[in-house]
């Protein structure tokens, strides 16, 4: 009997101890928080953490373009009906990024109905990519719909969604997905800007597009970390490097990148250079949205 008692006690103790140590890769919400090799290191890893490249939110990019005078133009964003046709995690990740940019563009331009449609597309693709925890409460969508014309409130809601997405990608070893999502978002933002800024008075389009070069550099470095995991990434890198080459060849851009006072450097793109850039962005974006 005594042996049975000891065995039972040992079983309870080991269960308790297992529960302590067994979930070290999960946070309090039960999400997997296994470290990624890029920005983290495991206990056994003796190589140490590696350099990493921060990618901003699609909302910030849209906000910066909006501050610079980017106006709304109906019909330029991706058709919301295409959401259902995106299959496979790569296409869906690109689609999520594209619709996230379209959502931010509509919100910042107070396009209520369009914003709600894009929010639904973002939610649908998030669910398909296993990111349902990002939208774990219906109240988030209801709050969005109720506040869609209140810029401060809706910015807060969108930044909350961004923050939850960042947590998801970081906690689930999905850095590659994060980079692909951002690729879609960045290309869509640049495509919209390249279509609308030429029609905007005093837009300083070349300055606006050259300003994005720092983000593009980070995106290319981050994508390079994942090119062996997804064959399509190598082609995406090649396409984006072409964009980088076009922007860098604009007179003043290299000086701006090296200058202590980049805001004082004059960037003077020819009409031909801007057309070439816009055409390349359209080509990449067309392949993405299909």
């Amino acid at each position: 009997m005594k042996k049975i008692s000891i065995l039972l006690a040992a079983a309870v103790l080991s269960t308790g101890l297992w529960s302590c140590g067994g979930d070290e890769n999960h946070d309090h919400d039960g999400k997997d928080t296994t470290a990624t090799t890029n920005d983290t290191m495991s206990v056994e890893d003796e190589t140490g953490p590696t350099d990493s490249y921060l990618l901003p939110s699609p909302l910030q990019i849209a906000y910066i373009f909006k501050k610079s005078g980017l106006k709304y133009q109906a019909g330029i964003a991706n058709d919301v009906k295409k959401e259902a046709s995106y299959s496979g995690s790569y296409e869906q990740s690109l689609g999520l990024g594209i619709y996230s940019s379209d959502l931010a563009y509509c919100v910042l331009n107070k396009q209520k109905q369009e914003a709600i449609s894009y929010m639904n597309a973002v939610k649908a693709l998030s669910d398909k990519l296993g990111m349902s925890t990002v939208f774990d409460s219906e109240s988030l969508l209801k709050r969005f719909e109720a506040n869609v014309v209140n810029e401060d409130s809706v910015m807060f809601i969108l930044s909350d969604i961004q923050s939850r997405s960042d947590e998801f990608f970081s906690s689930n070893d999905r850095q590659m997905s994060a980079a692909v999502v951002f690729s879609g978002a960045w290309v869509e933002s640049m495509y919209i800007a390249s279509k609308i800024l030429p029609k905007t008075k005093d837009s300083k389009m070349a300055d606006q597009l050259a300003d994005q070069l720092g983000i593009l550099e980070n995106l290319l470095k981050e994508l390079a970390n994942h090119k062996d995991k997804e064959p399509a990434i190598a082609n995406l890198i090649t396409q984006l490097e072409t964009v980088q080459g076009i922007i860098t060849s604009i007179p003043g851009v290299k000086e701006m990148m090296e200058s202590e006072k980049p805001q004082d450097v004059k960037i003077s793109a020819s009409e031909e250079q801007l057309k070439t850039l816009a055409a390349k962005l359209e080509e990449i974006r067309t392949a993405m949205v299909k």
């Binding site: 009997m1 049975i4 008692s5 000891i6 039972l8 006690a9 040992a10 309870v12 103790l13 269960t15 308790g16 101890l17 529960s19 302590c20 140590g21 070290e24 946070d27 309090h28 928080t33 920005d39 983290t40 290191m41 206990v43 003796e46 140490g48 953490p49 590696t50 350099d51 990493s52 490249y53 921060l54 901003p56 939110s57 909302l59 910030q60 906000y63 910066i64 501050k67 610079s68 807060f156 930044s159 909350d160 961004q162 923050s163 960042d166 947590e167 970081s170 906690s171 300055d207 606006q208 300003d211 994005q212 720092g214 983000i215 550099e217 980070n218 470095k221 990148m257 980049p262 805001q263």
Partner: protein, 157 residues
């Protein structure tokens, strides 16, 4: 041993196991949700843009790694570091250029900050294109295998 004694033994074991579980949980310093909550108040009135949590372990040799942060010439930014997930001080230095540049300038450092204040705020000057956050992890000379994490949040307005 009668049933009463078995019950008492099991109860004692359960209490001890629960205690162990509680202690282990309290040691979990690297919860991204908790770190975000602790960092957000310092970010106001800026809007959240992105965050990064870096897990690390002190090793026999010191380690250095960096995070490149692109900024827009047309935006205003705030960077908040939260070191509450690190049991030991880690050097944080922010530069205007990467480590290959001999001309790079130090923009921010936590060298003089106290370990008791884990939230550090840095406002990059307007018209800054990019900043390079360098982390300097000291060597683990005593072989304590200390591990923890650093949390970084970027905001804009």
């Amino acid at each position: 041993m009668n049933r009463y004694n078995i019950f008492l033994t099991l109860l004692l074991a359960a209490v001890v196991a629960t205690g162990f579980a509680f202690i282990q949980k309290s040691k979990d310093l690297c919860n991204p949700v908790d770190l975000k909550k602790k960092t957000e108040p310092a970010m106001k009135p800026y809007t959240y843009d992105s965050a990064k949590m870096s897990r690390l372990q002190f090793m026999k040799k010191g380690q250095k790694f960096s995070t490149e942060v692109p900024l827009s010439l047309f935006g205003q930014y705030k960077i908040v570091f939260n070191t509450s997930g690190m049991p030991k001080k880690v050097g944080i230095n922010v530069y205007d250029k990467d480590k290959s540049s001999s001309k790079r300038k130090l923009l921010f450092s936590n060298a003089d900050s106290l370990e008791t204040d884990p939230v550090l705020v840095f406002n990059p000057e307007k018209h800054t294109r990019k900043v390079f956050v360098d982390y300097d992890v000291p060597a683990d000379t005593l072989g304590l295998k200390i591990k923890g994490c650093l949390y970084f949040m970027l905001g804009y307005k």
